[in-house]
């Protein structure tokens, strides 16, 4: 359509991708990595389901099974859901707040490469034949050298630690971006809900990753230098790990679910052609969820033996979270209420997310009650619960976002027929897989067992769950077919295919490198809607202004963008060599340190704009 519609934002050789500092390209890189690992983690899950399809399964052995569920959990949390959220954050946040990039473009590149190298280090453990096997939660003292002498746990500690650095760097970056880079007139209360939820997630990451970092450093010292933080025989306590892990782990749940809440809060209004119902309530309930999320970690520890008073406090705190969560669900339904609902694929996934998350939320209320939870803890009931939250909630919500923003990101529409087939297969497969797990848990089947006896009566539901898992696999295949077809031959998308309300739809698809030819002025929470439909229809707008119009095709004034830089990827490489070196030898650690220092040094002294940096619009001097 426009000159940029031919994908100039993505054109360029491999080098241009390795050195890119463009938030859109980095978003795409995150997205591709996350989808790749979604397949890896999915295959791990399929092997797990095959093993459990019948009693006394013999597909894999005990140790392999323990490695598979450890890697499945770690992969899905750190290599799929977080980076897929990061993909949408990276791509959409600057577009939604009217910025030309994130606050620290090179730090953004560093975050991505650090994440990628960390994830490769984790999966390298498969190739040396010793993946971690103590669960994604890695409870001490099963992770001590004495009970886990191999390298698997070391791979796990070091890679998750490296990815944690990526998360913290990216959290700093997006916090600053959201707080400082909004277009003129976009007050916090005019910010799209997706950006709000993203902001809460960044704050949660900033506060939740330090405790897990401490926990990992203790464990690293126990394993490498013979300290005894978690070793009971020497006076340490394994329960310390549980506290530190869950002080991270419970906010992590909200780090994983809030982005999806944000997507749904964008998709439902767009396709019911109404504003989000009670946006301020939605914002404050999101903040409350994030805040309370730090005070409930011990509800993961009701069987640990903390005593009646602690159990009561954490039980009541957990129940409180149900209130803001319920508000969100009611407000979503009220958003649909009275609208003109257009049944497009993104809406299917968003509605699916709401419907399925309700189930996960309700089983969560059961777990908030310790007398009930002590029966369900560490059983398949919890496996069902967490998959209704992370699969029904996060995966469906993020797919709603992928389908919603696909035309913006690729410049092409994605097939509605295959999209709906994807939805239905995934919806049916998900319920077939995870709903029966409630029954298994209630009947006494613990988690993380590679085998069970036939006389326990668990075979029927396990077989159904396995069938469901393969239905999910087919649905993912349908998605990839749809994606490839769209990229190859999809119908060109205009700038605003959904008739939406927010700033990212005001420019061409895909956006030009500089995003906004003119920095937009914002005077409404729905600036583009206000422009298209005028203030009279928008009862919240008491202004006579025209809203924010579509972007002009060429910038009227010169725009300078930051230069590409190779130093972030080098610094990320150095960091990963330090981590990998811990498993190989001191020499490699020292090489890593040298590479890191060199990379950061050159990065620090590289001017953001150099000769030959990308620039657009009229040449300097001649433009005015």
């Amino acid at each position: 359509m426009t000159a940029t519609g031919h994908g100039s934002v993505y054109s360029g050789d491999l080098r241009s991708w390795l050195t890119t500092v463009d938030h859109k390209r980095i978003g795409v890189l995150y997205g591709i990595s996350a989808l790749f690992y979604f397949v890896v983690g999915g295959v791990e899950a399929l092997i797990i389901r095959l093993q459990l399809a019948s009693a006394d399964g013999a597909v894999v052995g005990a140790d392999t099974f323990n490695q598979l569920f450890t890697m499945h959990g770690t992969t899905m949390v750190f290599l799929v859901l977080m980076p897929l959220s990061a993909a949408l954050f990276n791509y959409m946040i600057p577009l939604m707040i009217g910025a030309r990039d994130v606050a620290f473009p090179r730090l953004n590149a560093f975050s991505f490469w650090t994440f990628l190298f960390g994830s490769l280090l984790l999966n390298l453990s498969f190739f040396v034949g010793d993946p971690p096997d103590a669960g994604w939660f890695g409870y001490a003292n099963l992770t001590s050298r004495q009970y886990n002498p191999g390298m698997g746990i070391d791979f796990w500690i070091l890679s998750v630690q490296i990815m944690g650095i990526a998360s913290i760097a990216s959290a700093v970056n997006f916090t600053v971006t959201i707080l400082n880079m909004r277009a003129p007139g976009m007050s916090l209360m005019r910010m799209p809900l997706f950006v709000w939820m993203a902001l809460i997630v960044q704050v949660l990451m900033l506060l939740a990753f330090p405790p897990i970092t401490v926990a990992f450093i203790y464990l690293l010292f126990d394993r490498f230098f013979g300290t005894h933080f978690y070793i009971p025989d020497a006076g340490g306590t394994p329960i310390l790990w549980q506290h530190l892990f869950w002080i991270f782990g419970h906010p992590e749940v909200y780090i994983l679910i809030l982005p999806s809440f944000g997507v749904v809060s964008e998709v439902l209004p767009t396709f019911s052609r109404k504003p989000l119902f009670g946006a301020p309530f939605m914002i404050f309930s999101g903040i409350l969820i994030g805040f309370l999320g730090f005070g409930v970690w011990s509800h993961h520890m009701f069987t640990t033996g903390l005593g009646a008073v602690a159990d009561t406090a954490f039980s009541l705190g957990t129940m409180l979270i149900a209130i803001p969560t319920g508000v969100k669900i009611f407000n979503w339904i009220a958003t649909l209420w009275g609208g003109h609902i257009h049944f497009k694929t993104p809406l299917y996934f968003a509605v699916g997310m709401v419907g399925l998350f309700i189930i996960g939320g309700l089983s969560g209320i059961m777990h908030a009650s310790p007398p009930v939870d002590i029966q369900q803890h560490d059983t398949y009931f919890v496996v069902a619960h967490l998959h209704y939250v992370f699969f029904g909630g996060t995966v469906f919500g993020l797919f709603a976002g992928v389908y919603y923003w696909w035309p913006k990101i690729t410049g092409r529409m994605i097939g509605e027929g295959l999209g709906k087939l994807h939805f239905w297969l995934m919806f049916i497969g998900m319920n077939l897989t995870f709903f029966p797990m409630h029954f298994l848990g209630m009947d006494g089947m613990p988690r993380r067992i590679y085998t069970y006896a036939a006389d326990l009566g668990w075979e029927r539901w396990n077989l159904i769950a396995t069938v469901g898992a393969f239905v999910i696999a087919v649905s993912v295949l349908v998605f990839f077919v749809n994606a490839v077809r769209s990229v190859r031959a999809g119908e060109r998308a205009g700038g605003d295919p959904w008739d939406a309300a927010t700033l990212e739809w005001t420019m061409s698809s895909p956006p030009p490198e500089y995003n906004f030819a003119v920095v937009p002025a914002v005077n409404s929470a729905r600036p583009f809607w206000l422009h298209k439909y005028g203030p009279t229809r928008d009862i919240s707008t008491r202004t006579k202004e025209e809203g924010t119009p579509s972007q002009p095709e060429t910038p009227p004034e010169r725009i300078d963008l930051p230069s590409p830089s190779g130093w972030p990827i080098l610094a990320a490489l150095g960091l990963s060599l330090i981590g990998g070196g811990a498993l190989v030898g001191l020499w490699l650690v020292l090489i890593g340190v040298a590479v890191l220092v060199f990379g950061v040094y050159r990065w620090a002294f590289q001017p953001l704009e150099r000769l030959g940096h990308p620039s657009f619009g009229p040449a300097p001097g001649g433009g005015r």
Binding site: G61, A62, N66, G135, Y139, N141, L142, Y147, P232, D233, T237, P238, I239, S272, R273, K274, F277, A279, F281, T303, G305, A308, S315, M319, G326, V327, I329, I333, L336, G339, H340, F343, V354, I358, L362, I365, M366, A368, S369, P371, V372, I374, Q375, H377, D378, T379, W424, I428, F439, M442, D443, G444, P446, R447, R448, Y450, Y533, R537, I539, S540
Partner: protein, 334 residues
């Protein structure tokens, strides 16, 4: 387009109804955690039956609201008008903040009351004291007042409160017999407590509920709730075990078995592995993995690792003669 939509909604409705029926039938008596055979399990099941009705009720109401909104407000082709742009309704939003809060209040009351009941002192002055020690991957049951130790099969008399002290010899395990009640962890370096009063005679299945290494799935156990006469007879036999004097007894002592295992009334006093006193009285072997028959016993002795992967018991490489002696000896421990 509208046909497509109505299929969407019908399927969604059907899926919901299916889920509901599944929930309904799942209320059935089949599940172990809902067939408690102790006061401890009963207390938890009561809170559960409160909660399940609240949650099912909320589930039905909210999902139906969602479905209704989708059906009622689907866009029809003739509509070119933009719907009324409602931004919110504060009174309504306050209402649906307060109603869930009120429901939670009704959930919180039985919850808190039961927490203190379950973790309070045992409901009797004179409980049967039992110390449970978790090991990779088997259970040790000590009866300090009665003066004996056994493994993997717990015996308790019906109607008398058992007061368990729980700890671990290596990593964290979790003690769980679904029909007796909720689980509690066995932590190395500290002690937990759990009491229950069994109410029904029978044999109940349990297993470790906290990932504890390779054979976590194989760390199983049985609990026998005996009538008091049967329990007394069993306890008396444990206190005065008969030890057959056979060729196998010597094999047991000289082949290395005694380094790890205790058999009361013999010089075998090893503490690393399970106590084998009156082994033949047990119904299962190898932490409740296999039935206690001579064939299974022989299999286990030939290759512990293939029965229980990662088992810490070594393969003793016994010749067939010694193996048979040993099996016969162990089979006579009753």
């Amino acid at each position: 387009m509208s046909r497509e939509r109505s299929t969407f909604l019908q399927t969604l409705l059907a899926a919901d109804l299916l889920l509901l029926t599944a929930c309904g039938s799942a209320q059935g008596p089949d599940w172990r955690t809902l067939r408690p055979v102790s006061d401890f399990g009963q207390l938890g099941a009561e809170v559960y039956s409160d909660l399940i009705w609240w949650t099912l009720g909320i589930f039905v109401v909210v999902e139906l609201l969602l479905l209704y909104a989708l059906i009622r407000y689907r866009s029809s082709r003739s509509e070119s008008e933009v719907p009324s742009q409602v931004h919110g309704f504060t009174a309504l939003e306050i209402a649906w903040t307060l109603v869930p809060a009120a429901i939670l209040f009704f959930i919180a009351i039985p919850t808190v009351r039961t927490i203190f009941e379950l973790q309070g002192a045992p409901p009797t002055e004179d409980p049967l004291e039992i110390t449970v020690v978790g090991h990779q991957w088997w259970w040790e049951f000590q009866y300090p007042e009665l003066g004996f130790v056994t493994a993997n099969e717990l015996h308790v008399p019906v109607g008398r409160t058992a007061n368990l002290t729980l700890s671990s010899a290596d990593v964290i395990h979790s003690f769980w017999i679904p029909q007796i009640g909720g689980k509690r962890d066995l932590n190395p370096g500290s002690e937990n407590r759990l009491w229950f009063t069994p109410t029904e005679v029978g044999e109940y299945y349990g297993q470790c509920a906290e990932l504890c290494g390779t054979s976590h799935a194989n760390m199983r156990m049985r609990v026998f709730v005996d009538d008091s006469a049967t329990f007394s007879e069993w306890a008396a036999a444990m206190q005065a075990p008969a030890v057959p004097d056979s060729a196998g007894a010597m094999t047991f002592l000289i082949s290395g078995c005694a380094a790890c295992h205790t058999i009361a009334g013999t010089p075998a006093q090893g503490k690393v592995g399970p106590n084998l006193t009156n082994l033949a009285r047990r119904t299962t072997l190898a932490s409740s993995l296999i039935p206690n028959t001579p064939e299974h016993m022989a299999n286990w002795l030939r290759s512990p690792d293939s029965v229980k992967p990662g088992a810490l018991m070594p393969d003793l490489n016994l010749d067939e003669q010694r193996l048979n002696d040993l099996v016969r000896f162990l089979d006579g421990l009753r």
